[in-house]
Symmetry: C2
């Protein structure tokens, strides 16, 4: 079966940027946090389309490759994240080989940029290039849009997990040329699917919407299969698409991620607010953003992941290679909603009781209880929503994150709980309070 | 919203039949109960087909109308159950009017029989006539087969809820002529769907498989839509069928019921065993059967249902009109699996904690924990399986049953918990111990 392990990051680079000064007080912060959270809760995210990244993402260019986490210089990427970026360069035809791609990246003729700066989030390596299709989740009232690549399939070898070869290439082509056009046609014919009711329903069916999306995927399928058939007819490729949607329990995760980004970005830039708007990993660092500190990343080394690995996998086989699915925790799902997803207990927490205690602790560092997303085991209490960096800093209680473990050579290795380091939250608060310079 | 009420049965007829003597001891009983439960757990129920009752049910005749609960004489049926039986007689063309049907029923030229004697169970009125299609759930190793009508739809007016009119008639015709042939073709093309994995999965997604079948219905849809399309092509009627399967959250209930009957009947007739093989309601009585007492019913008045009714419905608007969905509790689901289905707490139990206590109490009156059907909130403990009438009798703890409340004039009025009366269990044990004559 499986056994518990601690997956340790291999490197330890803590770097923070920034120089500009602002001031902030606790009273200002409280009002600002109310503003930020009210804005986020005022959104009504709608899954509207699937569109190539070049068209969907503001500022995207053919020479840009997005990846997970706070940005690093190209030579800093050394593992799966590097392999996936090189693969994407070849996939896009920007280079004829990974060697040529490496040269072009060194020269800055291919650019590596963080997903989060492009209204986008990515799973694991998060590598997203111009022609790859992304989900579009939009809020009409604010105009906010969140995007995320489509789920690539359950094969061990995926660009998501840092693998680039002909099999991965062919799968990406299928996602681009078959899956995405059919989903786009289906979604456009429906006028879009509201995501809040799907998440609400899935929380009542044992999902946390991060490590477990089994129910949300089933509910999405019930809502979307008809539009897929109506828009595309019944053909061999339609049957492939429907099979893909109905047989991959994590399929909805990337919709949940795009939704989280759509919601969180509404709060970004709220002056003085210490509400967290992003948590992300690159290969070497955990990093956060808060509403009041804008685009600045507060970074720290990656803490250990308490994980249970699948059979025949040792901790030496695993590696961190980035990840922005933590956007689900940023909006109250994943580890914050642990008490909704007892089926994950063997991987995340050890027992139902522990998962209840996890969510209860998260109420201590969040601004409100979500009015729509409810947890049955807690008497339909709303999920803890709006992580307040100031409360993390003052209590020392850090967000509990449900995360998958990645195989060093590619693939899904298991799952577990990553407790965020407190330092980046403290540092963000110091900046908000004017004790530290801002970026 | 909704409010808690106690739905009281309107009549109070306790009758028990029987004369034959047997003997039994506690040691014999213990061995017999192990035998009975082992046999039930040895089944692997497979959903194989949808077939007209006349063909599927052993002993069924064109003049027979099956209904829920221990049998009564025709004049004893006075409410919704009576209306549904009369409607079915007209539906089958056995009579030109309900008045003629009434005469033929009085004369015994149309027969009313209990579903349970025909390898069948029925929801609420449970009225099943010759041409109506039933699910077939079969266990290959024992040859046991359980059957149940298809879900009739979510309209308030249903034969299931004691309504007979032209709208109900047309819906039954659609179920017979459109839904059933397509499902039959689909299931036969798959070679059948194993039910145990679906129930296991649904318990991990918040279903109790009685009052809540939301997840099981979604999982069944994921497994069956492709076969529906392959076997029937894509047409307007196929789209109607797929919409029906994907939009009725209780659709799976009748599959769970046929499965329960398939499993329970394997234990029926085990000498000396006090394991319960049926619990059922007619309009006036709650009744049980045990493995060691064969076809005999042990009856008592219907206890109060602690229910929460939908808006604008008063307790005076409700009525008991039979029901055999209690077969789900008979095999460890429904109220016995309360701790799996916290989403039901407003209707059944009041809180997640109460639902945990309910399931915990059920371990005290059951033989084993099911090896496959697990409850995440209890650390994946198996559902309490194999209700032992002797333990009910000695502890005074009776099965907790998750039940829908019916509107007197037809329709679903709400849901709640019915705690079974202890007397029938005591009486069955007395018979098993030779203290009372057997039937």
């Amino acid at each position: 079966m499986t056994r518990p392990v601690r997956v340790l990051p291999r490197t330890d680079n803590s770097l923070n940027d920034g120089t500009r000064m602002v001031e902030g007080t606790s009273g200002q912060r409280s009002t600002a946090n109310d503003t930020a959270v009210t804005a986020m809760l005022g959104t009504d995210p709608v899954l509207t389309d699937v569109v190539p990244a070049l068209i969907a993402l503001p500022g995207m260019t053919p020479q840009t490759i997005l990846t997970s986490g706070a940005p690093m210089e190209w030579p800093e990427y050394v593992g799966g994240q590097r392999r996936a970026i090189l693969g994407a360069a070849v996939y896009e035809g920007l280079a004829a080989s990974v060697e040529e791609a490496d040269s072009l990246l060194h020269e800055g003729r291919i650019l590596v940029r963080p997903c989060h700066d492009y209204a986008c989030v990515g799973s694991v390596t998060g590598v997203t290039s111009a022609s790859m299709p992304v989900w579009v989740v939009a809020d009409a009232s604010t105009g906010s849009r969140g995007h995320c690549l489509l789920y690539e399939g359950s094969e061990r070898q995926r660009l998501t997990y840092g693998v680039w070869n002909e099999t991965v290439h062919q799968r990406l082509v299928w996602v681009r040329d078959v899956l995405s056009p059919q989903l786009s046609a289906a979604l456009r014919s429906t006028g879009g699917l509201r995501v809040n009711p799907i998440i609400r329903r899935a929380l009542g069916m044992g999902d946390d919407l991060h490590s477990r999306n089994t129910a949300a995927t089933a509910v999405l399928f019930q809502q979307l299969y008809g539009a897929v058939l109506d828009a595309n007819g019944l053909s061999t490729s339609t049957r492939e698409v429907l099979a893909f949607l109905s047989q991959n329990d994590l399929f909805f995760l990337h919709v949940a991620m795009a939704t989280g980004k759509c919601i969180a970005d509404v709060a970004a830039g709220t002056p003085h607010s210490s509400i967290v708007t992003a948590m992300a990993l690159n290969e070497k660092q955990f990093a956060i953003r808060t509403a009041g500190t804008g685009d600045r990343w507060f970074r720290s080394p990656i803490p250990a992941l308490d994980a249970k690995l699948f059979d025949d996998i040792g901790v030496e086989d695993t590696a961190f290679m980035g990840g922005e699915s933590l956007i689900t925790e940023t909006v109250g799902l994943g580890g914050l909603a642990a008490a909704a997803a007892f089926s994950l207990q063997d991987y995340s927490g050890g027992s139902a009781q522990h998962m209840v205690r996890t969510t209860e602790a998260m109420y201590g560092i969040t601004q409100v209880e979500h009015p729509l997303w409810k947890i049955p085991s807690l008497g339909f209490r709303g999920v803890p929503f709006g992580i307040d960096a100031a409360r993390v800093a003052s209590t020392g209680i850090a967000p509990s994150i449900h995360m998958g473990a990645a195989l060093r050579e590619g693939g899904h290795a298991g799952a577990g709980v990553l407790v965020a380091p407190v330092e980046p939250f403290r540092e963000a608060v110091d900046v908000l309070e004017g004790a530290l310079p801002t970026a």
